[in-house]
């Protein structure tokens, strides 16, 4: 114990003296460098952690290729201990298809934002799902184009303020959001489709199970799998970091509902 700001607290500067086992390390095995320049309170690293933990838990790392789209999360493309193929904005599903078809048996997953997957790359993900490609697409959905500063995407919900919809998205001018997982679930080639979130420890755990199920789907050769992961973006939402988990639930989560939409078994 020690005293900080007049309060007696546990000394957290080093490992405990009493016998204990490590149950979670700073970074998952497959993240080489934890430091990044993403905003305080960003949900994307939280989602990345879960995805990479799943790859390790299933013993897939020596046969996995990750295909990255373009967004804030691209910051992780060159610091993972997983083979990475960098794609263009929206194009990850076609690159992933090329890898998967040319080297069958390779586990391939994509990491894309909502702007990447639902705006620029809508046809790519729909076609890959329709084809039943044996790839797992992970969409980090924060309802904005984060990297350009927080702009309207196809998943932005009505009323949401963004840099280019400062009065809030309205249907007459900006149309309605696309609930991508719901669309993909209707395609016969899609074997597992789910939507999770990382705004609470409980949701992180539930989303992790969805991610594991997506990889299981791919390993089993059952078809296309996708997990949409709602992530916090306090910067893009013009709110404080502490408010982001509730904002996610009340706004994005109220439209893009959390749950498993389709499962092959």
């Amino acid at each position: 114990m020690k005293w900080v700001e007049g309060r007696e607290v546990v000394d957290t500067t080093g490992p405990p003296e009493a016998p204990a086992r490590l149950v979670d390390d700073f970074t998952p095995d497959l993240i080489d460098v934890g430091a990044h320049h993403l905003c305080p309170g960003c949900g994307e690293p939280v989602a990345m952690r879960s995805i990479l933990e799943a790859v390790t838990e299933l013993g897939l790392v020596r046969r996995t290729v990750a295909v990255f789209g373009i967004g804030c999360y691209t910051a992780f493309s060159n610091n993972l201990d997983v083979e990475v193929l960098q794609a263009l904005h929206g194009r990850a599903p076609s690159l992933a298809t090329g890898v998967s078809r040319a080297a069958p048996g390779t586990i391939v997953f994509t990491v894309q934002g909502d702007g990447d997957m639902v705006n620029e790359g809508l046809q790519e993900v729909l076609h890959a799902a329709a084809r039943g490609e044996r790839i797992s697409c992970f969409m980090l959905n924060n309802g904005v184009f984060g990297e350009t500063g927080g702009h309207l995407t196809s998943t932005t919900v009505l009323g949401q303020r963004t840099k280019n919809t400062l009065d809030g998205r309205n249907a007459a001018q900006h149309g309605y959001p696309i609930l991508l997982s719901n669309l993909v679930a209707q395609l016969e080639g899609a074997a597992f489709v789910a939507r999770g979130a990382v705004n609470s420890a409980g949701n992180v755990a539930r989303t992790k199970r969805m991610i594991l199920r997506a990889f299981e789907t791919q390993v089993a050769g059952a078809g296309f799998s996708m997990v949409e992961i709602l992530t916090m973006c306090p910067t893009g939402w013009f709110i404080e970091t502490q408010e982001a988990p509730a904002y996610l639930e009340e706004n994005l989560g109220a439209v893009h509902s959390i749950g498993v939409l389709k499962d092959w078994q």
Binding site: D24, E44, V46
Partner: protein, 84 residues
Amino acid sequence: MDGGAGVTLTRGTVVVDVEACKGCDLCIDACPPRVLVMTSHEVNARGYRYPLLLPGCTGCRACSQICPDFVFQVYKYDSPIELP
């Protein structure tokens, strides 16, 4: 968790990488036993406040799983210890 006579039964603990923290506060609400508190004026080299740990940690990993900046290392004691 009250261990009686002013001690708290503590099942786990964390190591905090203070300099990695960006003061987002997500861990505070995520912690089920609510044993994390942010500093009020102490800041790290980049100017962010960071979490302090009170007795009563259960080693549940909620903090490490919700933290965007890989600040936490989580341990579970072989046997619960008592902390003041």
